[in-house]
Symmetry: C2
Subunit: 243 residues, 2 copies
């Protein structure tokens, strides 16, 4: 995930191997354009069959499912470099929704060209599969978190991993990073109630470990945060091997 979009001439897909001129030409047609959306916009709706796929260039968002009970499960947080809509591309329909939390800039593709990407540009297809595998890995981790960890542990872990990811994307400054979500969003992601989330955040604050105020997360004591999270200081970021 780290240097996604960095070495790709068109910044359209997270790319990990150099592109040929022919590929660049293809990408230019695959890419439909760029899209700016405002905060709160729905990027993709559960059950829909969106004709478009996106790569995030700027901004932050959320993937979530709406449950029959009306509750919401946040699947994960969407940061620059992430790909949105693989499911829509490859299955009939999206199995979850995605929305913009801040204003976002998106790179837009035409879904019907996805197959020609597989046919003519196997490197990119491989990249896509890699992304899917990483996604799968992340979800597996989250599953383990919800299955086995308590409140503080979940939150601490979320903070550590989020911060690692943001750092590698250059979004962090010092011990701070923007985290423009609501407590309810975090609660929905971690399977905790809002109230309990709030109280647990207070505890982390009081213990001088981490503070999250006004959309900014500050890691006060990284080591202790990692302890809470049962995590080594250097875990969390997925490195892409060459093929």
């Amino acid at each position: 995930m780290v240097k996604s979009c960095r070495n790709c001439p068109l910044r359209e897909l997270p790319v990990f191997s150099p592109m040929s001129d022919r590929e660049v030409d293809f990408m230019a047609t695959f890419k439909v354009g760029e899209l700016d959306v405002e905060a709160g916009a729905t990027l993709m709706l559960e059950g829909s069959n969106s004709p478009q796929l996106f790569t995030v260039l700027e901004g932050m968002g959320l993937r979530y499912k709406t449950l029959p009970s009306g509750e919401r499960q946040v699947i994960n947080i969407v940061l620059p470099g992430d790909f949105i809509g693989l499911q829509a591309g490859v299955m009939q329909e999206m199995k979850h929704s995605a929305e913009a939390t801040t204003a976002m800039k998106l790179c837009v593709f035409d879904r019907k060209n996805l197959w020609s990407l597989f046919r003519d540009h196997p490197e990119r297809a491989y990249d896509l599969t890699w992304l899917a595998a990483v996604e799968e890995h992340m979800l597996g981790e989250s599953l383990a978190v919800l299955g086995h960890l308590g409140g503080i542990e979940r939150i601490a872990r979320a903070f550590v991993l989020l911060f690692a990811r943001a750092s590698s994307l250059g979004l962090a400054e010092g011990a701070q990073m923007p985290l423009p979500y609501k407590q309810q969003d975090l609660a929905d992601a971690l399977g905790l109630s809002l109230v309990h989330t709030n109280k647990t955040l207070k505890r982390l604050r009081d213990e001088g470990v981490a503070e999250w105020r006004n959309g900014t997360l500050t890691i006060v004591d990284h080591d202790r945060l990692c302890e809470f999270a049962h995590l080594d200081s250097d875990e969390g970021v997925m490195q892409r091997p060459l093929i």
Copy 2:
């Protein structure tokens, strides 16, 4: 997932579009052989860099993570048609382990040929990506389950979905299916303690909804089980669209 392996001449990959003769030839080289493993065997170890990838031909297994605390999170249940090792194929290493619960028959591939599959057989690459997307979907569902549902609901849901999957694979007979796991396995999958799982199973038994004894699951009252699961009777099986 439904008819995986059915229409593939070599039964090596879950295949959804017809194969050309050339492809069949390639598959013959991609496929290294078949492997029979006994119950309890470890198929893939977390952190390992297995040179082989598998498709399940027969038998049942588990994917799981071992947590620092020594506890285990079962990621999902492995049934015939499932692919094991995509992560090892595409990332450096496996992020979870897999083991055989019953004796299994596996189709074995050579990982180093994965790239040539992408290069020369885009249909199969697409199939693989589809599998990954389905996997992602399933995990998202599981996440929502652990995040929001209570004990009975989790178990009921697991039974309904498992039974739907088994039915579509022809593993079910009438209202019964083989489910050769331990209560501890289910508990680890659903993020419940063994004791609570046991008591909840008893409740389902006493209510005349479902029974699970001696490795066999019997759905006594499917409708009521679905109620418990907050699920419609027909949900659960993923249909594969054509490209």
